[in-house]
Subunit: 779 residues, 2 copies
């Protein structure tokens, strides 16, 4: 039976076919927190976890995060501030709560995420201890059209009783971050006002405690039955401290269905001068439009998003669904209208990492947006540009020059990575990541450059990107230390991508990327010197950049200790002297099991890696290493990599494909693709793995479909589809031109909107890339 047929006719009509649905078919409270992330909704502006609307649930972490709304207060770091919970709608019969945990039995339970339409639907019958059965169905969405509103509709049907049903509509301003982590719990908002919004419903006005950013949260309720009869019998507004509550009730006959629409508007000082008036306006408009009209517009918006972003794979339904799941959450998160926000490491679906942007953005998620939603990618790279001045301060404060981007970045560009961490068992340890993990700075330059290469956004590069690349290059030059006896520049005391060895000297990844960063700066500014001398002069002036400095840059770059470019490359100075431990056991998912030796000696004394490091380097700087070198290093390091970061498997998939290890590549793909949809790491409760989501897309498009830009800047495809896959099709925007790509085992078809398709077979790959180039020329 199709999943949607398990819903009643009323709800069914809104739901897509099974291939678009992620379903939860049993209620186990232990799974609540993970499903709150998995079914979490986001609309570019805000994210809302999938709590049970009726409340009364023991395991739950209600959260409504808004992109860019950060606060520190007593927290370890500025973090996305949890804002008032607008979702709750309690239900009672004779004072007895009715809900998923306020019952004796649950029947016919199913909840689904409809990825095609961006809605979450629920259906279950709760049976009370006195024999009453109530069918509850729900549809929830955050409007993708008007990103300041969210809503849910409840279909409430007493199956075997009649009577007065009471409702309690709450907007809860008591909310905190880290509700169930006592050590980290912080309340980031002050509640300024609670009122009934001139009779409309419930309104809570809050502000962030540090920056006094105002946040308005308003809700209104409508209740009727199938016959459009208004069923609201009485409505009474109450305030309970920081909680705004509206009580209302309805007489309901047995088998009659009450339809309760809860509308919410959430407006912040980031976008509105007067958040109260903004909420009132947005809520009024929303209520007047009504649930179904907004839903239709929301469906259309998702239709357009999917028209751009869907990747169709035939022959692998499970992976197809997981891929869509990753794309769904990825494209739902960032704000296409706002270059003051970025993408958190857990998207906007959970509290881990405080919503901070890491290098994950530039190397894992930005590629997806760069290729699929260049308008969003633009905002993400502009975010880094907006914080360039702060990165410059950051460099100076640390004794360097140029711009040093923070390991964790929120709204101010300050380093948000805490210096101390507390484990659940109470162990405190000094966290050196912010001190040593400097490679994020080259990742920012890499992301900006790749954005330009793909989009050809000359405006961005000329006014913003070039400054990022120049200032980060300047940082790296200052970061290098000259060793006279070797006539070499070394980079001491860093943490590379593999965080289990720190601080170390001359991390191959860091040094290679530093060189790349410096030389890319020289190349880009050289291009302007030749082609746009006015801009060149302007930039040199603005950045106080001299010919002498640039020539010094080239000198430094060419003398950076690279740890080699051929053969087996040592990850850092002394890595080969560590006790060599290799992986000898794999779990049922073919993922490595930590060798016994790791429990005997400190892990930094072994050769075991947390995540791809040299392999990551080779993925990024493909043209620097010959294929044999890539293969040697992949094979060597793969045996020593435990993938304890979700950034690692996708890179190993991509590199495995490149060097010809397609069996392991597919294992890594599934590891990356399924991490959240199946909560494979057990930490999905804390949010979704953004890097896995972006990495999974890269695996399919750049790995299996082999999309790449060669050293001449030519787009080409080298497909390596697994045997069971029939065809993969997807869209990209190449230098401003939308292209539809269809990849099969035999050929690659590239189609631009207004041109006939170019078909090439696998033997004519070079010509395929020429055709792509032609597309651009043509358009």
């Amino acid at each position: 039976m199709a999943l949607r047929n398990r819903f009643t006719e009323k709800v069914r009509s809104f739901i897509s076919e099974d291939e678009w649905l992620v379903a939860r078919e049993n209620y186990d409270p232990e799974e609540n927190l993970a499903y709150e992330s998995i079914f979490g909704l986001a609309n570019g502006n805000m994210g809302n976890r999938a709590i049970f609307e009726e409340g009364g649930v023991r395991k739950t972490l209600p959260a409504n995060y808004i992109n860019g709304v950060f606060d520190k207060s007593e927290a370890f770091m500025r973090e996305l501030a949890n804002t008032p919970n607008w979702v709750e709608l309690k239900m009672y019969y004779e004072c007895n709560p009715i809900g998923i945990e306020d019952c004796k039995d649950i029947k016919d339970f199913i909840t689904i995420l409809d990825m095609k339409k961006g809605i979450v639907c629920k259906h279950y019958i709760v049976c009370s201890s006195d024999g009453r059965e109530t069918l509850i169905e729900r549809i929830k969405f955050l409007s993708r059209v008007n990103t300041n509103v969210g809503t849910h509709r409840t279909y409430f049907t007493p199956l075997n009783y009649s009577g007065l049903i009471e409702f309690e509509n709450n907007v809860d301003g008591t909310i905190t971050n880290f509700i169930d982590f006592p050590r980290f719990r912080v309340k980031h908002l002050n509640t300024l006002d609670i009122n009934d919004m001139e009779g409309m419903g419930c309104y809570v006005e809050s502000e962030t405690r540090d920056f006094k950013l105002p946040i308005g949260t308003a809700t209104a309720i409508q209740i009727r039955n199938d016959n459009e009869e208004d069923k609201c019998r009485s409505k009474r507004f109450s305030r309970f401290g920081e909680m705004a509550t509206e009580f209302f009730d309805a007489l309901c006959e047995e088998k009659e269905t009450l339809i309760i629409d809860k509308y919410a508007a959430i407006c912040t000082g980031r976008h509105f001068d007067n958040v109260y008036e903004a909420c009132k306006k947005q809520l009024t408009l929303f209520v007047n439009n009504g649930f179904e009209k907004e839903l239709k517009a929301h469906f259309n918006a998702y239709q357009q998003l999917w028209a751009a972003a869907d990747v169709k794979i035939t022959g692998d339904d499970e992976l197809q669904k997981a891929l869509r799941f990753n794309i769904f959450h990825l494209m739902s998160t960032p704000n296409p209208e706002d270059n003051g926000t970025n993408i958190g490491a857990k998207l906007i679906h959970g509290e881990e990492y405080g919503g901070h942007a890491f290098w994950d953005t530039e190397l894992f998620t930005l590629p997806f947006f760069t290729w699929v939603f260049p308008n969003i990618a633009q905002k993400l790279v502009e975010y880094r540009y907006n914080l360039l001045d702060k990165a410059k301060e950051n460099a100076i404060a640390n004794g360097y020059k140029g711009a040093k981007y923070p390991w964790e970045s929120a709204d101010t560009g300050d380093e948000e990575c805490p210096s101390w961490t507390i484990e659940p068992d109470g162990t405190c340890y000094r966290c050196y990541v912010a001190d040593y993990e400097h490679h994020v700075t080259s990742a920012v330059a890499y992301g900006a450059n790749r954005y330009f290469e793909v989009t050809n956004d000359e405006e961005f590069m000329a006014t913003k990107g070039i400054k990022i690349i120049l200032e980060t290059a300047r940082f790296w030059v200052s970061r290098c230390e000259y060793v006279e006896e070797l006539d070499q520049y070394n980079i001491y005391k860093v943490t590379g991508p593999d965080e289990w060895h720190e601080p170390i000297d001359n991390n191959a990844y860091t040094n290679h990327l530093a060189k790349w960063n410096i030389l890319k700066a020289v190349e880009r500014i050289g291009h302007y010197e030749k082609n746009n001398h006015e801009l060149y002069t302007h930039l040199c002036e603005e950045l106080n950049l001299s010919k002498e400095e640039m020539s010094e840059w080239v000198n430094v770059a060419n003398k950076i200790n690279l740890k080699g470019t051929e053969g087996l490359i040592e990850q850092f100075d002394g890595y080969f002297d560590l006790e060599d431990v290799t992986i000898s056991e794999w779990d049922e998912n073919n993922m490595p099991i930590a060798p016994q030796r790791m429990r005997e000696i400190p892990k930094q004394k072994t050769s075991i890696l947390k995540q791809a490091d040299v392999v990551m380097l080779m993925f990024l700087l493909e043209n620097t290493f010959d294929m044999e070198t890539q293969k040697i290093n992949f094979e060597y390091y793969e045996k020593r990599t435990l993938h304890r970061s979700s950034l690692s498997p996708s890179i190993h998939c991509l590199m495995g494909l490149r060097v010809g290890d397609s069996k392991r590549a597919y294992d890594y793909l599934t590891r990356s693709a399924f991490v959240d949809i199946y909560n494979n790491q057990g930490n999905t409760r804390e949010g979704l793995h953004a890097a896995s989501a972006g990495g999974t897309w890269q695996c399919v498009v750049m790995g299996y479909c082999g999309m790449a830009i060669d050293s001449d800047g030519i787009l080409h495809f080298k497909p390596k589809l697994p045997d069971n896959w029939g065809m993969v099709s997807f869209n990209i925007v190449w230098k401003g031109t939308p292209l539809h790509i269809t990849v099969s085992k035999d050929d690659v078809v590239v189609k631009s909107q207004d041109s006939i398709p170019y078909r090439v077979n696998n033997e004519e790959r070079k010509s395929a890339s020429q055709i792509c180039k032609d597309c651009i020329v043509k358009n």
Copy 2:
């Protein structure tokens, strides 16, 4: 095994022998709310429900009520305001909460109320799903010595694991009244400030919303192990909106016991000018004294209370325990220092009836205090005197003269009985009680008069009591309407004790008590006219009372339509014309089952009574009716009384004994005695039945031991012990002299503190009362 032996040695030593313990031996969450009342503690100043200190419990109604702290706000009535919850102390291991509902299994569960010592103790082992077992033991008390402080001690023992235990100490200002009754939920306090009390702990300052009465709630924590080693590893204060929280933790070895003392001080503007400073002072003193020293003083205080109040019954252990249970809660509730407060109908243990004083005080609970704790009784009668002016306003506002006391009385003396009631099914109905149930006014006079008769408190009578009696008499005179053709005064449109017939005319109870009230006023003022003319003149002046008015009073009183004094007395005009329905079925407890006919016609059209009415009248005005009349009326009305008020069974026990129906009397006694200890009416969750508690004491002392004052003011005893009872002994204070009474089937021994006992056998009852009289003369 003695119950205390189920605790570890550490706790066991504090616990009394079984006869003093009420135990809960299984954990069923459905019973939580009733046990929160049953194990609720009070210390004269405040009452605190017995929640589980570690929180995380689904069914719970945390409450800390303070005598005299009322607020209305949006509530139906001014009600005891729930004040910040100071009890909570959450516990975690690696972020996993540890507690009664945060576990997979519970072992060795037992919680007890130790009535002798005024403490609640808990013992249980919680087993987590990952196999950790933790023994939790607790002792909690509200100090009877310093009535602004309360405390609990936790003995925390990880039985099979070691590690860091985290604690979260909360003072929760988000608290509301009627948390689980959506329609009635009100937050009565504004939170003014949250701070760490200069590093001491958690402090919440609130105020009542209407009168801005300040309330400070402060807590401090101490944590150590058995070896007196301070175990507190870190302490961090946080505020979460209206919640003050202190996090701290301790490393704990397997089988090591952490002892966590939580001290609380609660001070209000009723007793302190600066509640912050008061809390700081009280808390500092308390912490310096320490848990055990305060506990010892508290034990001593309860020892003294029991020395005055214990009633020992041999041969009936179950009733003995229930009687003590009623006495325990009764004597714990009112404030001996404060004549601005009274006793709520549910004591101070629950939220029903808002902590309001009804006629229940004067006729059910005041007798106990009058005879046992005259100092407390004095405060209770002074409470009525303090509200006399408001009662006079109340009379005038209703078109009458004199003083009309409100049916429900809080702190202001305004009528707090709501005019509308909402049932759980949403039915609203007009409640006429405040409009018609006027007999509370004569009950107030009756209580004041009886207080004087027993205590001989001339000062009270001369300055306060007399004014109550005069002004209430004046009310009744104005309440009567003259019917010329009958030369009779009628009282129209009243509700008598039986609230199922209203409004009715000439309720025998109301009219008789009105007459009694008027004539008592005349008698008392006449006494002063003769013996204290100065006072007499002063009173006449102050009350604007003339000879003419008083002579009119006598005229009216003698012509009140009494509905007879002999034979079967009609409850009110037309009662005998109602459809006569009698009770024909009784339940397993020998309590009447509502006749079928009551479901067919409105109950006011039948002769069935809610509760004792004519029978109540005869109980109070014993000397007005001959025994035959009392017997006839008891037998008639008993067949028609459903006892749907907890005020009814004790009166039927007392009257049954008087007219010779001892079998039914005992059924009524158990009905009254066990109502809360066994939650027999299913509503103990809402508080304890004050009237049953006081009525039960009266049944034993006035009923079975036959204590009474005869028409000559002589104290006498006519014991009627049941066959299974051996002896009953108790204390009273008769006209200022403490007497110890021992009643057996053969004789009554009356002993004053410094005199030899007087022994009389049953045949010499008259002389027994003479002896009692002699006692007084002698002392």
